[in-house]
Each structure stands twice: as structure tokens, then as C-alpha cells.
């Protein structure tokens, strides 16, 4: 099977085999996009400022996006909506904070490892109870677990209530790779370590979802009963995928704690953070691997930055989300191919633009007429 050339022919198209993935391939276009993406990630600390964006904020966006990538394993494959993934993000973040604040552990990578272990164990624990549930019961059970964890941390002196814990031993930043760094050096080393780990984790997730196990999760998502009767131990597999999915959140939360160096319950554990992680996956495009990452960057950026530009800063985010629901039906990454195709068609045939205007006009007219009908219904009742 193995050949030296990374290129191979498939269905009449030249595709690129990706190293370390046992034969997963990308089209030429996808390869180019991936390379650009990786370059952007590596250049981010230097590029962000040039285009007027905040690097730290983008970094946080990537972290929440990473949690969303984990959540997406459940959402896309087993088709389970989790409303409780902040538990693992926050669990990871608090593992770091507790070790640093109470046990004086100062090596960042050790802290990160602890975050992954604690968050994953938490996911395994919760997953054990929720794996047998589906649909909204699954969603609301995960939410309840999340809420109980939040309430416990929020009202416990050990976690210093809502004031949270600092990730600094004796007032210093943690060490990384056993070395102390300047503030900027710390941020850069942490960022690049994270990016490398993140790329590896994305690659692993990619392999996972294309493996027989990924296919089994798809089967569970599409028809649980059938899955059982072809011999899939459904609950055990859901449990495993729930745990893996929590691992991604725990990793992201751990890095978040190392980046922010102070962990509080509301930004990490509140159930609405769980909702946000879910929405990141959807708005980025949950049918794709990297969509949730993009969604994370976008939503975090919006949530943190709109207040600096707008007095009414909630509504703009709401309107953007509405636009995505209605005009990008598969989320940003999921809709990208359609949009690009549409754009190139319009480039070659400008006449289509007129049709677009008509479509928009008629959809607005439809909305208005629906709205007026509702008034009639209010007056005359259902019949």
C-alpha cells in the first residue's frame, strides 16, 4: 500500500495523502487550505496585531473551539447534544488552579497533564450515568451534572468561591519545560506548545472519526436500535466517546488556565458556557472537523469584543447567529463549499445576482405576510 509519493489518484482526482493518518487524503484545494490554516496558526502571535486583532483573544477562541471539537464527536457522530461540556473545560481549568494554588505545583506541562486526567475522569464519571440517555434527556442530564459541579465550586471555600484561584505559585508564572520565562516568552512557548498538541489532537480526531470506531459511533447516532442488533455495545461506546470528547475539553480548559493564570467559575463552568461551546460547534459547522474550531474563535471574539464597539452588544451577536442559521445552513465551514461554488457561478454569470435579489425580496415578503397572518390568527383564533 505504501508508496513514497504523497499523491495518489482517487475517482479521477489527484489527492494528497496526509502523513501519520494511515491513508487519509485531502483534495488539492483542501491541502492548500490546510497549509494556509497551519501557517496562520503559527504566525498568529505576529499577524494578529497587524490586522488589529487581539492574539490572546484568538488564543482563547481556539481553546473554546477545541472543547467544541471534542463536543462535536458526540454531536456529529453519536448525534447527542451535550449541554454540559463546560464541566470538563472547567474541570481541567480547576485541576490546574487547585494544584498550583493548594499544592504549589509550578510546572505548566505537569499541570496540563493533571488537567487532562482530571477532566477526563470527570467525563468518564458523568458519561457512565448519561450514556444510556438520548435526545433532550441526554442534553438536560448533562446540564444538570454541569450545574451541580458549578454550584459546588461556586460555593466552596476550597475553590475560593466565585473569586477563583490564581495559577501562580508565589506570584510567578508557571514554568514550562522546567524553565522560567519572561511574560512574553511564557505566552509564546505556551501558545506554540498548545498549537502543536492541538494539531496532533485534530489529526487523531480525524483518524478516529474515519476509523471503524468512528463508523460505529455514526451507526449509534443514526439508529441506536439497529446498532445494538448488529452487536454494538451502544452504551459502552457512547461512554467511551463521551470520555474522549471530555478529554478535548479538559485539555482546552487546562491550557485556558495556564493562559489566563486565574480561574473563576463563571467563565469556565457556568451552564451557559456549555451552551456557548455547543453553539460554537453548530455555527462553525458541526459536519466538519475544524468547523467547531472556527466557531470557537468567532464566538469568543464576538462575546468579548462587541462591547467595545456597541452599546447594545448582545443583539449584534444574535443577528450574526440568526444570519448563520438562515443563510449558512450548515454552519461556516459546512457551507463554505456551497458559497464558494455560488460565488464562482455568479462571477461567470452576473445575471444570477438579479435572481438573488428577487429571492431575498420574496423571502422578506413571505416573512411579512406570515407576520400579518399571525395578527389575523390572534383575532380570529385557529379556525
Amino acid at each position: 500500500m505504501s508508496r513514497l509519493s504523497p499523491l495518489e489518484e482517487r475517482d479521477g482526482e489527484t489527492v494528497v495523502r496526509v502523513p501519520l493518518t494511515n491513508g487519509l487524503t485531502l483534495t488539492k484545494g483542501q491541502t492548500a487550505l490546510t497549509l494556509v490554516g497551519i501557517l496562520v496558526l503559527f504566525g498568529l502571535p505576529f499577524l494578529a496585531g497587524i490586522v488589529g486583532l487581539s492574539w490572546g483573544r484568538l488564543f482563547r477562541g481556539l481553546l473554546f473551539g477545541m472543547a467544541a471539537v471534542g463536543l462535536n464527536l458526540l454531536l456529529r457522530h453519536t448525534e447527542l447534544v451535550s449541554f454540559g461540556h463546560a464541566a470538563f473545560f472547567g474541570g481541567g481549568a480547576y485541576a490546574v488552579a487547585v494544584l498550583a494554588a493548594h499544592l504549589d505545583v509550578s510546572e505548566g506541562l505537569l499541570l496540563l497533564l493533571a488537567a487532562v486526567i482530571v477532566g477526563t475522569l470527570l467525563a468518564a464519571f458523568i458519561g457512565y450515568f448519561v450514556a444510556g440517555y438520548v435526545d433532550i434527556y441526554f442534553a438536560l442530564l448533562t446540564l444538570a451534572f454541569n450545574a451541580v459541579i458549578f454550584a459546588t465550586v461556586f460555593r466552596s471555600g476550597f475553590f475560593n468561591y466565585n473569586d477563583g484561584l490564581a495559577v501562580r505559585v508565589g506570584g510567578d508564572n508557571p514554568t514550562l519545560f522546567g524553565l522560567g520565562w519572561t511574560d512574553l516568552g511564557y505566552d509564546l512557548v505556551l501558545y506554540y506548545t498548545t498549537i502543536v498538541l492541538m494539531l496532533v489532537m485534530l489529526l487523531l480526531m480525524w483518524r478516529l472519526v474515519h476509523s471503524p470506531f468512528g463508523r460505529a459511533l455514526d451507526a449509534i447516532g443514526q439508529d441506536r436500535t439497529r446498532a445494538r442488533f448488529i452487536g454494538i455495545p451502544v452504551e459502552r461506546y457512547v461512554w467511551i466517546s463521551f470520555t474522549i470528547s471530555g478529554l478535548y475539553g479538559a485539555f482546552a480548559g487546562g491550557v485556558y488556565a495556564l493562559q489566563r493564570l486565574h480561574v473563576q467559575p463563571e467563565p469556565t463552568l457556568y451552564v451557559f458556557v456549555s451552551g456557548e461551546i455547543l453553539f460554537m460547534a453548530i455555527l462553525g459547522g458541526f459536519t466538519t472537523l475544524v468547523g467547531p474550531l472556527i466557531g470557537g474563535v468567532l464566538l469568543v471574539y464576538l462575546l468579548e469584543a462587541t462591547r467595545f464597539s456597541f452599546y447594545y452588544y448582545h443583539a449584534p451577536i444574535g443577528i450574526i447567529l440568526l444570519a448563520i442559521v438562515f443563510f449558512m445552513p450548515k454552519g461556516i465551514m459546512g457551507s463554505l463549499p456551497d458559497i464558494l461554488a455560488g460565488l464562482s457561478r455568479r462571477a461567470s454569470d452576473p445575471g444570477l445576482l438579479g435572481d438573488d435579489l428577487q429571492t431575498i425580496g420574496s423571502s422578506i415578503r413571505r416573512s411579512l405576510s406570515r407576520a400579518t397572518t399571525t395578527v389575523r390568527i390572534l383575532v380570529f383564533g385557529v379556525r
Partner: protein
Amino acid sequence: MLEARNLRKEFGELRATDDVSLEFGTTPGEMVFIVGPNGAGKTTLVNLLTGLLEPDQGSVVVHEETDDGTTVERDITNVDPERRVNEGLVRSFQIVHVFEEMTVRENVRVAVLSRYDKLLSVRSRDDQHEDVEETVDDLLAQFRLEETQHEVAETLPHGDRKLLDVAMSFGLDPEYLLLDEPTSGVATREKEYVIETIVEASDARGVTTVTIEHDMDLVKTYADRLVVLVEGSVFREGDPTLLETDGELRRVLLGVTE
């Protein structure tokens, strides 16, 4: 041999299965048809055998020949459905259950992966197991699904979906295959084709099949043995010619008065 031993199941007041004792596969590879009027407890019986339901009383037992020729009994009454698949006990549903968003090939493949116990593997891509792919090819050929193998299951015509459902069951290498109305919803002219394909496949593999069927012409043509359920109990058991000869049976089943 698969044995139902004094199975009983009640839903509230209703006794859906009432002390049913039956044996399937006394002759390996036999084709048993279960018939009976609506509400006779046919589907409940299949559900009890395959583990979708737990009986209130009685047990489900598998008899297996060991190498030295003796027979070993194993009680699987409380075994999960997914584990019963490992015992060679496989079923299909009255309403088609396939993985709607997968292609035909992927549907079959996931069943075969399960049979080869490779579902937990993450080391390789799902389509890179040569033994699996060969088996998938065989099944697709046998069920005449090669042409549609790259189509998504939800877009298939109904007859093909039924066949796909059965093909997946065969992909699990069953010893006993329980089919709940494999021809329901299939156009009359295709019914024969569906059953014919199933018969061929099970003959080729020596699979004991237990089929719930309403079409008495098909039953007459294909059954090795007949089980008639009425109001949860076994009413008749025997040769399909009973359908011709037993007046009471004809009255119960077909509403024919003679």
C-alpha cells in the same frame, strides 16, 4: 439449536406471549415461518428471543455442539441483545432499520466490521480491512446491491432497503436469523424476489431462519416448518401443508369458514 422454554410476557392485562415453548434449528439451516392473526404475539416472541424484551417467565436457551459431539446448553435469557449477536442470534425489524445517512456499502461494512470484532479499532481507516472488504463485496453481490452500493441508504427504493437490512444481518454471520416480516411494505411483484434472495443466502450459509410472514403463498412455497401463534400461544406446529388440510387453522388464519 435455539430454544424458547415456557416464555411468558404480559403487558398490563394483556398476555402477549403465553407459555411458549419452541425449538428452532433442530434441522440446521431449516426455514421456520411464524404465522398468526394480528396480535397473536409473533413480534413479541421474536423480541423475547433476541433480547429486545425481557420475559416475565421462562428462558431462551442455545444448544451448541462441542468438538467431542456432546451438546452444551447456554441460557441467554438475560444476555444483552448486542451480546446475543455474538451467539449467532441476529434479527431484522418489520420497519426497516438501516443507517440512513450511510451508503449501502458503509451499512454492510459496519455490520461486517462488527462481526470481525474490529469496531474498537482506531488504527486504520474503516475501509482498509481487506478481509472485511471481501466479505462486503460478497454480500453486495449476493443481494444484488453492487450497483447502488455508493448511494445513501435513505434514497433507496423500499425493496432495496429491505434487502440491505437483511444483507447487514447476513454480514453478522448469523446462525439463527429472525426476520420480522421481511416483505412488509414491499410491492407484491417484488416480494418473491426478496424472499428468494433470502432463501438463497441462508441456504448458501446454512443459516436457520425464523420468519414472520403474512403472505400464505410465500409461506407455502418456502417454509420447511410452520408455527402458528394465536393469542400468545402455540396453536399449531408442523408441516406447511397444514395450511391446506387443517380447517380450523384456515378459519383462524384466513377467516375462511368451510
